[in-house]
């Protein structure tokens, strides 16, 4: 049973059929098998948040999930959110406020921030901090990231019909 197993899933809207070893985690499957290298691998034990992706609509740590567990699942990565334009305003706010420097944490940070913005239209700074508390950034000191998420929330509220 250590032999490869067949999985079938949707990644960023595309149907994927693959054979994977049981030990392969979702982050490595996305990066090595599908060349979706926007999902970053940092600590590999669920602490840093750099590998955050969406599975069936919920954000998860892709280093703490096996690829075989995503059989029949819908997976969305930073490439999917970026290409569809879903987070174009959030990305612009990060850029404008210098909310990234080296960029390693940014894909995971954007995934977690967008998850919050889908749940709350007007989060306060404490709620933003709490939702991003599982994502490490070693460059920015976080203040600019909180600012960018707050600005994005405000912008979306203003644009609502």
């Amino acid at each position: 049973m250590t032999a490869p197993l067949q999985i079938s899933l949707a990644v960023n809207g595309e149907r994927i059929d693959a054979y994977v070893l049981p030990r392969l985690n979702l982050a490595d499957f996305l990066r090595e098998h599908l060349q979706l290298t926007g999902t970053h691998v940092g600590c590999e034990h669920g602490v840093c948040g750099a590998c955050t992706v969406r599975v069936n609509g919920d954000i998860v740590r892709s280093c703490l999930m096996l690829a075989v567990q995503t059989d029949n699942a819908t997976v969305e990565t930073i490439e999917g959110l970026s290409d569809s334009g879903e987070i174009a305003d959030l990305q612009a706010a990060f850029r404008n406020r210098n909310a990234l420097q080296c960029g390693f944490c940014t894909p995971g940070m954007l995934m977690a921030a967008q998850d919050l913005l889908r749940q709350r239209t007007a989060p306060d700074r404490e709620q933003i901090r709490e939702h991003l508390s599982g994502n490490y950034c070693r460059c920015t000191g976080y203040q600019a990231i909180i600012d960018a998420v707050e600005t994005t929330a405000r912008g979306r509220l203003e644009r609502r019909p």
Partner: protein
């Protein structure tokens, strides 16, 4: 690091999972949400030969109220507990505690059964189960058995579960009239494992406790049900009585020392939590101001 190679079996039912565990239990690990198991495997702290994935077993999911019992399936995720109106109504201690369990992306995968079976002494849910006087439901080849939460946790990462058994559900008594709860923990970062924490469930009668179950975590090898609080039951609590109880608590606990805190710091923090807990439950902030120097 990456997990070592292993075989993988997707259980289709509880019966099927138990068959797999009966055949291979000693070499197998049960995969539920994986939020404790996967880090341990990635760090090569454990390298099981077989993973039995129970994630797709529908009969293990869900929250139900049956009479005065609140039943929670083992695969119920932390985020499901957090959002459940049944939990908020009948076990509000859990609703409050769950916000301290890790971070949103972890709570979307982690399950109550996984957390309890893992039995990390610094984690929140085992302590809540003891405070709420929960019953752990365990499936095995010969049928079901029930173990009181206070007897379920037997050591660091150790429980009453044997290798061929599966934790299938927990049962909680629904909160009685005049119930009150308190939860607080000290951690380096919100969502990290606690340095010291407390979960408490009380029944108030006027301005006194008719019952008080106070459970500390991260102070020993398992959740510590504090026996010294018997001094606080059915008495009008004064700062002296509270001080006396917290001195007893200090003697009762034998906390570990690690890179986060010394044993004496943990004792001190436990006293602070006891005082805060009692004053919050009684709605008397002045107790906390005087009793713990």
């Amino acid at each position: 690091m990456k997990a070592a190679a292993f075989s993988y079996a997707r259980a289709t039912s509880v019966v099927n999972a138990l068959e797999l565990l009966a055949a291979r239990g000693d070499d197998a690990k049960v995969l539920s949400g994986g939020q404790s198991l996967m880090p341990a495997m990635n760090l090569r702290l454990i390298s099981p030969e077989l993973i039995v994935d129970i994630g797709g077993i529908a009969e293990l999911k869900g929250i139900a109220v049956r009479g005065d019992v609140l039943a929670i399936g083992a695969l119920t995720r932390h985020v499901d507990l957090q959002r459940s109106p049944e939990i908020a109504a009948h076990a509000p201690l859990l609703t409050e505690a769950i916000a301290h369990v890790a971070h949103p992306a972890i709570r979307n995968k982690g399950t109550i059964g996984g957390s309890l079976a893992h039995a990390d002494p610094a984690s929140e849910l085992p302590a809540c189960m003891v405070a709420l006087d929960a019953t752990i439901v365990i499936g095995g080849q010969t049928g079901e058995r029930r173990v009181a939460a206070r007897d379920f946790f037997t050591g660091i990462y150790e429980t009453a579960l044997s290798a061929d058994e599966l934790l299938t559900a927990v049962e909680l008594p629904v909160a009685r009239k005049n119930s009150a709860h308190f939860f607080c923990e000290f951690a380096r970062r919100h969502g990290d494992y606690a340095i010291v924490g407390v979960a408490a469930q009380a029944i108030l009668e006027g301005d006194m406790f008719a019952d008080l179950r106070l459970v500390f975590f991260a102070v020993g090898d398992r959740p510590a049900l504090c026996s010294g609080v018997s001094k606080l039951i059915n008495v009008a609590i004064t700062p002296e009585i509270l001080l006396n109880a917290s001195t007893t608590l200090e003697a009762e606990l034998d906390p570990p020392e690690d890179q986060q805190a010394t044993a004496s710091m943990r004792r001190h923090l436990a006293r602070v939590l006891l005082t805060r807990c009692v004053s919050a439950l009684l709605g008397r902030p002045v107790l906390a101001a005087g009793a713990c120097a």
